[in-house]
Symmetry: C2
Subunit: 377 residues, 2 copies
Amino acid sequence: MSYTDEHWMDIAIREAEKSRGLCSPNPFVGAAIVKDDKLIATGRTRAYGSDHAEVDAINRAGKSCQGATIYVTLEPCCHFGKTPPCTKAIIKAGLIRVVAGICDPNPPVAGKGFEELRKAGIQLSTGVRADKISEQNEAFLCNVQKQRPFIIWKAALSLDGKYAAEDGSSKWISNELSRRMVHRLRAGVDAVLSGIQSVKKDDAMLNVRGVRYHKQPLRILLDPYLELEPNSRFAQSAKDFPSLVLYRIDQHSKAPILSELGIELQAIDGHDDVLDLLEIIQVLNQRRVSSLLLESGNRLSESFWQARLIDKCMVFYGNKILGSSKAALNGLGIPNIADAIALQHIQIKKLKDNVLISGYPVFDQLAIPPNDSRCLH
Amino acid sequence: MSYTDEHWMDIAIREAEKSRGLCSPNPFVGAAIVKDDKLIATGRTRAYGSDHAEVDAINRAGKSCQGATIYVTLEPCCHFGKTPPCTKAIIKAGLIRVVAGICDPNPPVAGKGFEELRKAGIQLSTGVRADKISEQNEAFLCNVQKQRPFIIWKAALSLDGKYAAEDGSSKWISNELSRRMVHRLRAGVDAVLSGIQSVKKDDAMLNVRGVRYHKQPLRILLDPYLELEPNSRFAQSAKDFPSLVLYRIDQHSKAPILSELGIELQAIDGHDDVLDLLEIIQVLNQRRVSSLLLESGNRLSESFWQARLIDKCMVFYGNKILGSSKAALNGLGIPNIADAIALQHIQIKKLKDNVLISGYPVFDQLAIPPNDSRCLH
C-alpha cells in the first residue's frame, strides 16, 4: 500500500507546528522528504534568519534527496532574503517532485517559486491540505494581505454574556482548563495587548504561566497617563518578561522609574484617556509583531471591533449565570441585526464544563461605515 | 454471547422516548421483555389513564412472559391510580426477574413497588442506566420533588450575549437548525409561556411548526392589561392551538372578543404590569402542566431566575456579534462572582454554525436570598 500525498503533508504540517511562535515574522513551515514510500527526513523553519524548512529537511536527508519527493506546507521561496532561495536548494539536491500546500502571497515569491521549479523540470503538485495550512499560517497570511498583525480577540464570559459580576469581580468566570488554554494562546503569539484599567483591576502580568512555552510574548500595555504602579506585578516582572508601555506623548512623570524596572516606554499620539489606534498598529508593525492577542476591557475591545481590527474571535464561556450589567461589547453601534458581524468557520471546543467558541469575523458586507479608528483609550 | 442488562435497558429507554409529551402528567416509561437472550416484546406508557409500559409490554408478549425478564425504566407502581398496579400484572404474568432503572419518588410507590415484587419471590435488579433515565424523566422527577412544573429557560443570543440588535431586531440571531430545535423542544413540553411584549414584538405564535409532533403544547400568554390584538397571529390561531391568556383580575375590556376566538382566559392577582408569579405556578399545577418552556423577554426571564424557578437552561448562540445594549439577564442583582449561579451537567451541541449549551442551575448554595417571587410582568 502506498501512502497518499495528504498523509505526508500531514507530517509536514505537524512538523511546522513545532515552530509556532519561534520564527516570527517568518511563517512557520514544515517539510518532509519521502522516497519509495518511506520518510527520509523532516524539517521546519528555524529561528528568524536561520534555515527555512526545505533546507532544514534537505540538510538532514543529505544524499538520499536524489530522486525523492519533498512535501512542504508553503511555496518554496525563490529570492534572497535572510537566507538563499529554497528553490535553488531543492534543484541542487536532486529532488524530483515537490508537493506544496499553499502559495506564498508575499510579492517576491507569489507563484514565482513554483514557476522556477517547473522550469527546472521538477514535477509539481499544489493545494494539498490547503485549508488546514491556511489556518495554521493565518497570522502570516494576514500580515501579507493586510500589512498588519493578525489580531485575536479573546473574552471570558458567563453563559449570559457578562465579563464580570455587578461589583466588577471576575475571578474566576472560566475554569482552569480555559485559563491554561489562554496561557497556551499567549505562548503562540508575538505580543499580548491590554489596557491599564484591566491590568490595574486584576494586577495582571499578561505573561505565560503554568504551560510549556518556548518564548514569552511581548507584553504591551496602553497606559495614556502612565498610571502603572511601579510595585505592580506587571512592572516588577519587567526584567523577566519583555514589556512595552505606550503612553501619551505629553505625559512623562513616572517614565524614568518604569524604565529602570526594565520597561520599554514609547510615547504616541492620543487625547484624553485614549491613544491613537493607527499609531498603535504602526508600533506593532515596526516591531514586526505578526500576531497579537487582545486581552482588554470593554472599551478597548470595542475600539478594535469598530475599526475592524479583529481577525479571530475566541470566546470562553464559563458554566455560570451572572445576571449583571457588565455585558461584553455593548456599544458597537450596529443598529439592525442585518448589520451584525457574522463569524465564519465556527469551531467549538469543550473544556470540561466550559466551552470555547472561535470564529473569524466577516466585515466585508457590513453596512455601517468603519469608525475613524482614532478613538481608543 | 449474552447481552448485558444495560443493552436491554437501552431498548426500554428508546421505547420510552416515543411517549415523550404524550402521557403527561405521567412519567414516560419504557419496558422490554426478554427471554433466553431474545427480545419478546416492548411496551411504553400510553396516553394518560391508559396502560402503563409494563402492562403494555405484557399484553404484547402474552404467554411468553412465563419465565422471562422485564426491563423497565421506572419502578413498577403498586397502587390503584387510573390503572391497576403494575406489580400485580408482573406477578400474574409469570415474569421471574425485574430489572428497573430508577425508583419512583412518588410517595404511594417510592420503594413499595420493589418491596412487593421481592416478597413475591421475583428476582430484582435496580439502578441500571439510572443517570440516563433520571435525565429522560427530569420533568416528572421535578414535579414530584418540587410540586411544580419542570421549567426550561431558553434563550437565543449572539456570541456576545445579546438577544437583539440596538433597534430591537432579532430575526434571525440563530440559524434554521437552532430554530427547528426550538420547535422540537416545544413539541416535547406541555406548555410554552411568554409575555405579551415578546408576542407583540414578533407577532409570535408559540406553536410547533416545521417538525414532526404528536401534540401541540398549551400556549400560555401573560397579558396583565389584555393587550393582545384580536388580529394577531396568536389570537387568530387559537382555534387550532390551545391557548390560555392570564390577565390581571381587574382588567376585562377585550375578554369577550378573545374568548370568541377560542382563547381561554383566566384572571389572577397582579399589580401594574406584573402578574403574581406564585399564582402563575398554581395555575400551571391545576392544569397538571408537567413541563414548561419559558420563551420570554428579559424582565420575565429575570423574575423566574430570581425566584429560582429555572430547572434547565438552554442557550442557543448564533454566529454573530451584535455589540448592542440588549444584553440577556442584566438585572439579577447578584453582587459578586462568588454568588454566580453555577450550571452543572453542561452539554454542548453544535448546530452547524450555531452552538447550543445546556445545563442545570444549582441554586442551593446561593448566598443571595430569593426574591419575594411576587414581581413579574
